[in-house]
């Protein structure tokens, strides 16, 4: 018998610290599988950001640098430019990438840096306990929007994939979900493509994951999974916004 599914070797054999039903684990695995598939584990330098995924180095069997909050694309720029043979990816949440690090995000994309940027959009701040994110849905209750987010005054959800796709230099921009097998299959291809682009020296790649945060959404994992389809995808349509698979 052969395994249909096995832990990728770019991930350490340790349990994740994430909450039950959190999609970080799936995103981690897809990234690790892509690294294995392309045979680039020895070249990868990952940039961890601030948020639930700050402990990236506990899970990925690759070199990791922990960046200041929001600065991962700038830190990644430094790594890649100083050591072009590296394969560099950043892994950032919505607070990190779309709020405090928006400038770094946009400018790295606009310079066409040779980076793979993985964006975990769960419309809320996870690690700090459920505050409003730039991607929080209109009406969504968070600890800092107790009455629900009002678009005027608290802002509309930032559409990062669309914003980045509007720039000229990025080579590949996609938004994926991982809340069912079909979506996971699409996401897998997008992640591989993001790395392949860098391996081939074709430039900047951005993959946004619509991701569930059952704990801060105050839902069961299954409810949260459904919420991705019912609430997130209508606001943040899935698809390839730039480049192709």
């Amino acid at each position: 018998m052969k395994p249909v599914f096995k832990r990728p070797k770019s991930l350490y054999d340790v349990p994740f610290h994430y909450c039950p039903g959190c999609h970080h684990g799936i995103a981690h695995r897809l990234i690790a599988e892509a690294i294995d598939a392309l045979g680039i584990q020895e070249r990868v330098v990952a940039v961890a950001s601030i948020g639930c995924s700050v402990f990236l180095y506990d899970y990925f069997a690759v070199d990791v640098l922990e960046a200041p909050h929001g600065r991962a694309p700038a830190v990644g720029t430094g790594i890649k430019r100083a050591r072009p043979e590296s394969i560099v990816f950043t892994y950032q949440g919505d607070g990190d990438l779309a709020a405090i690090g928006l400038a770094e995000t946009i400018h790295a994309a606009n310079r066409g840096e040779q980076l793979a940027v993985f964006f975990i959009n769960n419309t809320i701040y996870g690690m700090t306990g459920g505050q409003m994110a730039p991607t929080t849905l209109p009406g969504q209750k968070t600890t800092t929007t107790p009455l629900g987010r009002r678009v005027i005054g608290e802002g509309a959800p930032l559409k990062m994939a669309e914003m980045i796709a509007a720039l000229k230099p990025p080579a590949f921009v996609a938004r994926v979900a991982v809340n069912n097998s079909k979506s996971i299959f699409q996401a897998k291809k997008a992640v591989q493509q993001a790395f392949r682009i860098q391996v081939e020296g074709k430039g900047y790649a951005f993959v946004e994951f619509l991701s569930a945060c059952p704990t801060n959404w105050k839902m069961t994992p299954c409810e949260a999974n459904r919420h991705v389809s019912e609430a997130l995808i209508p606001e943040f349509p899935l698809g390839i916004f730039k480049g192709d698979l």
């Binding site: 020895e42 990868v44 069997a61 070199d63 200041p68 600065r71 830190v75 720029t77 100083a82 400038a103």
Partner: protein
């Protein structure tokens, strides 16, 4: 011989250019920065020269991004530098703190202007506390080198890279608007140091286990151990303390100053000497670690000190801590403007005569 060297090997360059020349000579191959007066010659020079030496220049979207890029580059083992002036250095404190915590070496240049806020663009030493107390959040320090001439701007920048690598720490070169903008002949003697191996660098886990650089320590006791480790490192850095003693041997009073204030004071002291006043100068070159022991030794035989700085009194606190009890430490302060040698001479004279009637 001296004349020959003087004629053939000197170059007339700005202090800021000397810093850039020193960095490139020392093997700096990554620079990221953001425009701000009065340090613009550094990014401009780097933009022109880096590609020629196979290095990278990036004009970043902000001071914050610039230092973060330096953090990334330095983490791979490259010699990396950024520069700015006071308001920009405030922004850079974030990553400087992260690098101190992650033990990533780099060189940060502050061509200090006056503050607070947007302040002005004239020379100032208002960033002494920021420079010597760490500057950002957390229990850390950066090594601080303060040149007082264009030659030192060149020499100390090269040294900064060596110290940064040796101790895996950010090193700050604290220049100022006068030193950065002025031109002076410098001997471009080239880099005499040595680049060391960096077995901690993130180069991809080829043929070895994966590793990481981080500053987050949540497990019980880890952070305490980390902070003690950094503390011991800062103690070890005392080996690198540098200072200059100028006419101190027979001095009855000592002026303490650094950077451009010190060079102006040299003229004032010469003036005082011609009037028979036995005044000397102690010039810290490393501001952190501060040359406290050397100053304490002087205070065994001299007990009058005048601290002259271009702020409202910062280094004077370190001088007070250093000298033996009973010594008098006075301040002569020039916040936000450049004093003339005459002005400082009058300050010296006034105090000297008060104690030596």
């Amino acid at each position: 011989m001296r004349k020959t060297e003087a004629v053939y090997n000197r170059k007339l360059v700005k202090g800021n250019e000397a810093i850039a020349l020193g960095a490139i000579a020392a093997g700096c191959r990554f620079y990221a920065g953001y425009p701000i007066t009065p340090q613009n010659e550094i990014p401009e020079f780097m933009a022109g020269r880096m590609p020629a030496v196979g290095g990278t220049f990036i004009q970043a979207e902000s001071e914050i991004a610039a230092i973060s890029m330096v953090m990334g580059a330095a983490a791979t083992g490259a010699r990396a530098m950024t520069s700015s002036s006071s308001p920009g250095i405030s922004l850079k404190q974030e990553a400087i703190s992260y690098m101190a915590g992650s033990e990533i070496p780099c060189v940060v240049v502050n061509v200090c202007r006056s503050g607070p806020g947007l302040g002005g663009i004239s020379a100032s030493q208002g960033d002494y506390f920021q420079a010597t107390r760490g500057g950002g959040h957390g229990d850390y320090r950066t090594f601080v080198l303060a040149p007082h001439s264009v030659q030192e701007s060149y020499d100390l920048t090269m040294l900064a890279f060596d110290i940064a690598d040796r101790y895996r720490t950010p090193v700050l070169v604290l220049s100022d608007a006068v030193l950065g903008q002025m031109k002076e002949p410098v001997y471009l003697r080239g880099y005499k140091g040595r680049e060391i191996r960096k077995p901690w660098a993130l180069t991809g886990a080829k043929g070895r286990k994966a590793r990481y650089l981080k500053s987050l320590y949540l497990n019980e006791g880890e952070l305490t151990a980390r902070n003690w480790k950094l503390f011991r490192k800062y103690r070890r850095m005392e080996k690198e303390i540098r200072y200059e003693m100028y006419l101190t041997e027979d001095a009855e009073a000592i002026v303490v100053a650094f950077g451009c204030a010190a060079r102006i004071l040299k003229t004032s002291i010469q003036m005082a000497r011609t009037k028979g006043m036995r005044v000397g100068m102690f010039r810290p070159i490393s501001l952190f670690p501060f040359p406290s022991q050397a100053l304490a030794a002087i205070s065994n035989r001299v007990n009058r000190f005048l601290v002259c700085e271009l702020n409202t009194g910062q280094m004077v606190e370190d001088v007070r801590l250093a000298v033996k009890p009973g010594a008098t430490v006075e301040s002569c302060l020039c916040p936000g403007y450049i004093p003339t040698p005459n002005e400082l001479f009058r300050e010296i004279k006034k105090r000297y005569l008060a104690s030596n009637p």
